[in-house]
């Protein structure tokens, strides 16, 4: 494990405590943490360092801007996790893996970056239906439909939930779907 454990503000105990919590949450939602425990603890330590730096769990393997609005898509679990697990069996940093990798049938290796390069994608106004081009006119709907950008969970209600019940992403990770 890292030399920095015990030296900085993040202690091994804190890292292990978050590991236990994330592992339980992942399994209850049908996700899996990387079975390489030391690797996974190292990533969680990185997330905790980023939380102290920026106030949120910026991906440990990407350079965060420090501006939350610009970093929303790379706050763990990132917007790219689920498609990356589906395609490569692992997310970009390697914190989450597929069942195949968990079972040892597939190896988690480094994967290409799915996030558009800096300056290539403007952050959309996710909370507004008008920002989504091509939406059919469903103004007769009783409730708007919200989509979790991390896992795709949909719900029809006045506001998105505080926390996604499937993947635990926070409210600000939802976009207006219909």
């Amino acid at each position: 494990m890292s030399d920095s454990i015990g030296e900085g503000e993040v202690t091994r105990k804190e890292v292990e405590s978050l590991f236990t919590r994330l592992d339980q949450e992942a399994e209850s939602g049908g996700y899996h943490l990387n079975p390489n425990r030391e690797f996974t603890l190292g990533l969680i330590e990185g997330m905790m360092v980023n939380e102290r730096r920026y106030g949120y769990w910026a991906c440990p393997c990407r350079l965060a801007s420090g501006v939350k609005k610009e970093d929303l898509d790379i706050i763990c679990p990132c917007d790219y996790r689920d498609p990356d697990i589906a395609e490569y069996g692992t997310c970009y940093c390697g914190l989450y893996v597929s069942q195949d990798v968990l079972d040892g049938k597939r190896k988690a290796t480094r994967i290409p970056e799915r996030r558009p390069a800096e300056g290539m994608a403007a952050p959309a106004d996710r909370m507004s239906a008008s920002a989504q081009p091509g939406l059919p006119d469903l103004s007769g709907l009783t409730y708007p439909l919200w989509r979790c950008r991390v896992c795709g969970y949909l719900c029809a209600r006045g506001q998105p939930p505080e926390v996604c019940p499937i993947c635990r992403a926070k409210k600000d990770r939802f976009e207006r779907f219909l």
Partner: protein, 92 residues
Amino acid sequence: MEFQRVEGTDKGKIVLYALSTCMWCRMAKNLLKDMGVCYEYIDVDTLSAEEKVTVKQEIKKWNPGGSYPTLVINEKECVSGFDEAEIREKIK
């Protein structure tokens, strides 16, 4: 802005652009250390905002995606991401 130098066998100018929080970057550092080569690294996430801008431009010259780790060998070749076989192949 200061690069950290790790002593070892001289295989030319080997520069690693890394993040202090990234495990793939840590594996790259460990591999270079195990290989016993002399190299320099910088943890870009620990730099000031101005320094980050400068370093990101430098990284993009070699690795347009700007991902980490980026390893530049002799200002000629680059390895983007942690690929042990490729790193061993390019540093001989």
